[in-house]
């Protein structure tokens, strides 16, 4: 049995925070980091608020370590005070009129003085805040505020830790410091940690499991690898930042050679065999940009799959790579709407970019390796 089991529904009526919005979430978590990923307004924070008890769902059940926090059928609603959950707010919500030490002491006011003192020292030490114990929150840097907020949430030894977009507004270095802090927490506290983000990289860096949110529902859960390599549908793929999402019809199916051929409006694509599909079915598929290989047009090798003649239309540099927008030949600049693969995106390392000598050449071949073509088993909405 998972440490946290959450199955909740809530409808937001007119005049509430999110009118017409429907939250319907089913989530199971064990010790480790579960990243709740999705666009803003998809219901991630509402999930945290329901778990913490700030929000009463209309129906469902929340179990934490076999304790019932909420159950609509037996009308159990445990107040937030008794749930034993640590919450790190987006703005940290440190009490501005108390010192760091007083902030930490607030949660353990009923502990004997000696024990309280010891635990505060321990937390200050663990989060590198000993020198700042007597400071007010307004005199702390962003990273220090964040650490103080996490320390305050952990000092009561919660059974679940919730983090709502904790790195928002922090610079690159502080983000990476934070990732190290969260990994340490995962090591030393064997509790489920739920972290809300809409940053794909963060999800990948931190998550043991990712839950992808869309319009109030979790549409897919899995390890980061599972989710990124096998998005459930086109919408999830796009949420994850995969731009090469195309539609086509099944033209050939060959289970013997584990092959299927999908005819798009511009070119045929060979992919892995699709069980349970028929010829003529309309399907969607995707390939993430770093798996698209680029080679000189002359080096066209017939033996390889999915060789597509292209020309480079745009180069977008990123810190470690170059993203290239490629136009498929024979598709004279038509629109890129509704899954028509007139444009493919690839991402290559700077070293490879320099080796190819891109600027000098016009005609190229893009290769979409069959193994990385992911065909959605589910109809995209």
């Amino acid at each position: 049995m998972a440490q946290l089991e959450c199955n909740i529904q809530k409808a937001f009526r007119r005049g509430e925070e999110a009118p017409g919005f429907q939250l319907d979430v089913c989530l199971e978590c064990d010790a480790g980091i579960t990243v709740l990923f999705g666009a803003s307004g998809a219901g991630k924070t509402l999930t945290l608020d329901s778990l913490a008890g700030f929000l009463a769902p209309d129906g469902g059940r929340i179990l934490l370590h076999d304790r019932i926090l909420f159950d609509s059928q037996s009308s159990v609603f445990m107040p937030p005070q008794r749930r034993g959950i640590g919450y790190v707010f987006q703005n940290y919500a440190l009490f501005p009129h108390m010192t760091v030490e007083q902030n930490l002491a607030f949660g353990i006011a009923h502990t004997p003085a000696l024990e309280r003192h010891r635990r505060i020292r321990e937390m200050l030490d663990l989060f590198g805040l000993t020198a700042h114990a007597a400071r007010m929150p307004r005199d702390l840097s962003g990273g220090e505020k964040q650490r103080a907020s996490i320390a305050r949430a952990l000092i009561r030894q919660p059974k679940l830790l919730l983090l709502d977009e904790p790195v928002r507004g922090l610079d690159y270095q502080l983000r990476h410091d934070f990732y190290a802090v969260v990994r340490n927490i995962r090591q030393s506290y064997k509790i489920p940690i739920l972290l809300v983000t809409h940053d794909v990289t963060e999800g990948f860096v931190l998550a043991d499991r990712i839950a992808v949110y869309r319009a109030g529902r979790i549409v897919q859960t899995g390890t980061p690898d599972e989710v990124f390599l096998h998005p459930r549908n086109a919408a999830v793929a796009r949420l994850l930042g995969i731009t090469n999402v195309f539609s086509g019809t099944v033209e050939e199916l060959d289970p013997m050679s584990d092959t299927s051929v999908i005819r798009t409006s511009t070119f045929p694509v060979k992919g892995p065999y699709l069980p349970g599909r028929l010829r003529g079915d309309k399907v969607w598929f995707c390939i993430s940009s770093e798996h698209v290989a680029l080679s000189a047009a002359a080096a066209n090798d017939r033996a390889r799959d999915n060789q597509i003649p292209v020309s480079i239309v745009e180069e977008i540099p990123t810190p470690s790579t170059i993203r290239l927008l490629l136009r498929v030949h024979g598709e004279a600049g038509s629109s890129n709407g509704s899954g028509t693969p007139s444009q493919i995106e690839t991402e290559i390392s700077r070293a490879a970019y320099n080796k190819l000598g891109l600027a000098t050449r016009k005609d190229w071949t893009a290769t979409l390796p069959k193994a990385f073509i992911h065909i959605f088993p589910e109809q995209s909405e």
Binding site: A52, G53, F54, P79, P80, Q81, R82, R83, I85, G86, Y87, F89, Q90, N91, A93, F95, P96, H97, F106, G107, A109, H110, R152, A153, R156, P158
Partner: protein, 223 residues
């Protein structure tokens, strides 16, 4: 010259205003917090009832109170049974008048002050195990402190200056229920300009001091 002036109305006014402000503060803060943070049936009606004294003419309000608290009414009788004297036309009635006159302002400003407190602060306190009372006294109230102090001073000024409600339910009994505002009216009516001038000056000085104090609390100084 000052010897000739009877300072009783000033002391009575101050006494009445201090007590009325204390009552307004105790009841008003709670009411304001409930209106700011709780969602319940009849919240709008409660809000309207609290605001009513601001819109009603003071004499109308005084008349309602007279009808409600007079010697023959249940409330009036209850008061008399408990305290041994009738409420109306005593200085205690002036306290009731001043309270009713000042409480809506206090509730309005305190409510705005509570609403401006980041809810995450209160929610954070909840996850840290704090009871609702502890949250109110340790988190919400301290964070709204400045605005509430300003609101309290404002309520005190209102309590000090009430005329209409006071004269309706406390009357104008010199040495007993005659507050400053009533005494000034009385002095002008009877042509006692010296007395009227002295009292007007004192009240004006108090009012300016209050204004100064409020501006200090709001952050920018008047002087």
């Amino acid at each position: 010259m000052l010897r000739q002036i009877d300072w009783f109305p000033l002391w009575l006014s101050l006494k009445v205003a201090v007590i009325a402000t204390a009552i307004s503060l105790a009841g008003g803060l709670l009411l304001a917090y409930v209106l700011a943070r709780r969602r319940f049936r009849g919240r709008n009606i409660l809000d309207a009832v609290v605001t009513l004294p601001v819109v009603l003419p003071p004499t109308v309000l005084g008349y309602y109170l007279l009808v409600l608290l007079g010697r023959s009414t249940p409330l009036g009788r209850a008061f008399e049974a408990v305290f041994g004297f009738p409420l109306v036309f005593t200085w205690q009635a002036a306290v009731v008048a001043a309270t009713i006159h000042s409480v809506p302002l206090l509730v309005k400003s305190a409510r705005a002050a509570f609403e401006s407190v980041d809810r995450n602060m209160e929610n954070a306190a909840r996850t840290l195990g704090a009871s609702e009372w502890r949250i109110f006294f340790r988190v919400t109230l301290p964070l709204a402190r400045r605005s509430i102090m300003a609101a309290t001073i404002f309520a005190f000024a209102r309590a000090l200056g009430d005329f209409g409600v006071t004269i309706m339910i406390a009357g104008n009994i010199p040495g007993k229920t005659q507050t400053m505002a009533v005494a000034i009216y009385d002095a002008v009516e009877s042509g006692n300009t010296l007395l009227a001038n002295a009292m007007v000056l004192v009240i004006s000085a108090v009012a300016i001091a209050i204004l100064y104090g409020m501006n200090r609390l709001e952050g920018d100084r008047l002087f």
